[in-house]
């Protein structure tokens, strides 16, 4: 049972998928079969089917509800309900004379129908903006609503959004999450509407049944507006079922027994248990997440750059990766290599405990009888927080604690769960904190490391960096953005408010017969584009 999942097997999995994809592209007429049911395990308690109010990533929701555009497998935006992704080049984005505002025009697909048969029009897009913006509606995300002053609808298939600012990441907000049907929801209370159980969308699947605490059943939309290049009706799969299985042991058991066909977030440490299960294969997909160790600058010892740099020199990323099943990849920049803005010239403090020890010696921190350094009564002893119950994070924490001990720094686990963890993270209730951020296809970094950043619980403030953020986040000029992003990566890597450690991957268990499945690395989940998936019998 407990066979180590070798890299070779994984590689075969990846290769098999890529080969399958390559074959598909080479022979587009190869028969794609319609039919079948795919049962997927969800590891969280589904709260609502509304993409705007769910507290989780909307796996099931994205098969039902479509946005104007969506990120693809490379985290690049592609059109869905819009005919093209608006850019400066295609005239979809127009800047004001003083370059302080922008107007975005979406041209909509004209043959789209809601699941109830009503036509999808520009009025639905405007309604979605108004509904999400409405203060009475309790949304998980209202991102982007405040940046739009007004929306004009010249005709049924044109939407003109007048922004009050220049927002390079507009694509990862509002209309990408999904469009809501005006004809069904206008005048209703969205907080209590039945839309939250059985949303009506334009997507390839319709909600057949949602039973709280158990499952949601999604049936093929036989009247879906898109067809395959071959002329086939889409989607191919008849029925998608998401079963709520919150216990990770049970999730693995159900995959082994065949009660579940698929799971998209298999814990790294559990993947080996699925090796050799008949009919199942493991696919390792990229994920826009990064593991990071943050320092609390309210602690005067950590506000001293020497200690932060010594910590950076003390950490061996290879070991961190090994305790996470060998899955993550080492990173040196907060910007993941998949992004255009990534700069490979970003400097890093490489693993070098001798250098770390020398730095601390020079700074006057001497080792006491217990091997822990101190200077003038300041002991290098820190409270170290991770989210308890997350096995991968706790393993990483233990490795870091051991590695810091090597250079005479004591870190003591002070783990917290759920809300208490978040409370600590936002108010700086820690000295060191390890965690992961999962982001959209174009993340905004000032929220983490800007002086006023809403996720900056570290008390970190660097005016030079704030100025770089201002340049990076208020222009659509790709050259300016790239230069600013490089500068941002350099400053963060040198000043070290946080150490970027590993880039995440998602471990997906899927049936061998599921074809055309392509992992999606963004927070729009692997289910953002299910229409071409099919089950080979």
């Amino acid at each position: 049972m407990n066979v180590k999942l070798s890299r070779r097997v994984l590689l075969q999995g990846i290769l098999a998928t890529t080969t399958a994809l390559a074959t598909m592209r080479a022979f587009p007429v190869m028969a794609q079969q319609a039919g079948g049911t795919l049962t997927v395990g969800l590891t969280y308690e589904l709260d609502t089917m509304n993409t705007y109010s769910t507290g989780f990533l909307a796996d099931a929701q994205h098969t039902v509800i479509e946005g104007l555009i969506a990120p693809d497998k490379d985290a690049r935006y592609v059109p869905v309900l819009a005919k093209e992704v608006p850019t400066l080049d295609n005239g979809g984005i127009v800047l004001s004379e003083d370059r302080s505002k922008m107007t975005i025009t979406y041209k909509l697909q004209e043959n789209v129908k809601w699941h109830d048969g009503a036509p999808f029009t520009s009025a639905d897009v405007k309604f979605t903006w108004e509904a999400v913006k409405d203060p009475a509606f309790i949304a998980e995300s209202k991102d982007g609503t405040q940046d739009i002053d007004s929306i004009d609808l010249p005709d049924d298939y044109t939407v003109v959004c007048n922004y009050n600012t220049v927002k390079p990441n507009f694509a990862s907000t509002l209309f990408t999450f999904g469009i809501m049907p005006k004809h069904l929801l206008e005048g209703t209370d969205l907080n209590t509407s039945s839309y939250n159980e059985t949303p009506v969308g334009t997507g390839p699947f319709k909600v057949a049944e949602f039973v709280r605490g158990q499952y949601v059943v999604l049936d093929k939309n036989t009247d879906y507006w898109q067809t395959a290049e071959s002329g086939d009706a889409l989607p191919y799969i008849d029925r998608l079922v998401f079963r709520i299985v919150t216990d990770s042991n049970t999730l693995i058991t159900q995959l082994q027994s065949g009660e579940l066909d698929m799971a998209v977030s298999v814990p790294y440490g559990r993947a080996s248990q699925l090796e050799g299960v008949e009919g199942l294969e493991i696919v390792v997909g990229p994920q826009l997440s990064w593991g990071h160790l943050d320092f609390n600058f309210r602690n005067p010892i950590l506000a001293d750059g020497t200690v932060r740099k010594a910590v950076a020199h003390a950490i061996n990323r290879e070991t961190l990766i090994r305790v996470q099943g060998g899955f993550p990849t080492p990173i040196k920049s907060l910007v993941l290599p998949i992004f255009d803005l990534y700069d490979d010239a970003t400097p890093e403090y490489a693993y070098d405990p001798a250098a770390a020890n020398a730095m601390l010696d020079d700074a006057g921190y001497t080792k006491g009888g217990d091997g822990i350094r101190e200077k003038d009564g300041d002991r290098l002893s820190f409270a170290f927080v991770v989210q308890s119950g997350r096995a991968d994070d706790e393993n990483v924490q233990q490795v870091i604690i051991a590695q810091l001990k090597e250079i005479g720094i004591e870190a003591t686990a002070d783990n917290k769960t759920g809300v208490a963890y978040r409370e600590a993270r936002y108010s700086g209730g820690y000295d060191l904190i390890y965690g992961r951020w999962i982001t959209s296809a174009d993340p905004v970094y000032s929220i983490f490391y800007g002086t006023e950043g809403e996720n900056n619980g570290q008390g970190y403030s660097n005016p030079e960096l704030d100025e770089v953020f201002a340049r990076l986040e208020n222009t659509l000029d790709q050259d300016v953005r790239k230069a600013a992003a490089s500068e941002m990566q350099r400053i963060i890597a040198e000043d070290l408010p946080a150490i970027a450690l590993t880039g995440g991957v998602s471990v997906i268990a899927k049936p061998v017969e599921l074809k055309n499945f392509v992992p999606n690395p963004t927070n729009m989940t692997n289910f953002v584009d299910t229409k071409e998936w099919y089950l080979e019998s």
Binding site: E140, G213, T246, D247, V419, R422, E423
Partner: protein
């Protein structure tokens, strides 16, 4: 007579429940974080939006004011709305109560059917090999971690043999009696194990105390059969201490067996409690905990009434 007693006891419990509600309200508020934290994790929710949400749920009021608003509502039967799902608290509880009562009720019945005879026999044959075996098994049962036993059963019956579904309440599109029965077998077995083990111990020790009494010797001397002595003369008295334990365990079971429900993906009260706890869903938590408190009060009254039924010397006027 006993009906009047029960009503008096229930009325007497009102101040108690009021006191409990104050304590619960304060304890829930003392836990770090709050319901709005699920929004705090999302960097794009503005402070103004948060303030609006807080106002909608009355979370911007001082805690005592919040409590009196809650109390005022609950007195007219308004349990409030879940912050996580936006649905009425009572609807959510009723939805989850059914599966929990089925699982808990079945586990209770099975536990009684096994624990009572096992307890009696091992008391009557005290010191025998049978008694020794039962004792060892009982302690093994009490000490077995629930999640571990669940995992073993799942691996055996679902993965290896493929006889039973490993988790869930019913198959999708089925939900027939047989289908539900297949789903409830393993969680019931897991839930029953610890109660069977502990209840049989209580019944055994109760029986041993009673079997040493003079009136039992008298019964034997009169020539009554062992069966009649054990079941007619001894059992009623031996059950009195066990009733207390069973009543308390009953409340625990219907308050939702958190681990069993989670491992077996059972859509019951225990899991609802966990998810409400994770989201700091204050109205939901108050509803669930008040429901639990009420169950304890009722179970205690029922236990007291059982004493009277079992022991004619006990009278409530």
């Amino acid at each position: 007579m006993s009906l009047g007693y029960a009503i008096r006891r229930l009325l007497g419990a009102i101040p108690l429940l009021l006191g409990i509600s104050v304590i619960l309200f304060v304890i829930i508020q003392l836990a770090p974080g709050g319901p709005l934290d699920i929004y705090a994790e999302n960097p794009s929710v503005s402070k103004e939006a948060l303030a609006q949400i807080a106002a909608r749920y009355g979370l911007d009021q001082p805690v005592p004011v919040q409590y009196f608003l809650w109390l005022k509502a609950i007195l007219v039967g308004d349990w409030g709305y879940s912050i996580r799902t936006g649905r009425p608290v009572l609807d959510e509880i009723v939805l989850r109560l059914g599966p929990t009562l089925q699982l808990g009720g079945l586990a209770m019945v099975i536990s009684l059917l096994i624990a009572v005879p096992v307890g009696i026999i091992s008391a009557a044959r005290r010191g025998s090999k049978l008694d020794g075996t039962v004792t060892v098994l009982s302690f093994a049962g009490i000490s077995t971690p629930v999640f571990w036993l669940a995992l073993l059963l799942q691996l055996l019956f679902s993965v290896q043999l493929g006889w039973l579904p490993s988790a869930g309440y019913q198959s999708i599109g089925d939900g027939s009696f047989v289908d539900r029965l297949r789903h409830i077998i393993m969680p019931t077995a897991v839930l029953s194990l610890a109660t069977v083990a502990s209840w049989s111990r209580f019944i055994r020790s109760g029986m041993i105390d009673v079997l040493n009494q003079d009136y039992i010797r008298t019964a034997y001397a009169k020539g009554r059969s062992e069966k009649a002595v054990l079941f007619v003369h001894a059992l009623r008295n031996a059950m009195i201490p066990a009733v207390t334990v069973i009543a308390v365990d009953f409340v625990t079971i219907i308050s939702g067996a958190v681990i069993t429900e989670t491992v077996f993906a059972w859509p019951g009260i225990g899991r609802l409690f966990m998810e409400s706890m994770d989201g700091r869903d204050y109205p939901m938590l108050m509803g669930l905990m008040m429901m639990g408190s009420l169950a304890i009060v009722v179970a205690n009254i029922v236990a007291d009434l059982c004493y009277a039924a079992l022991d004619p010397r006990i009278r409530y006027d």
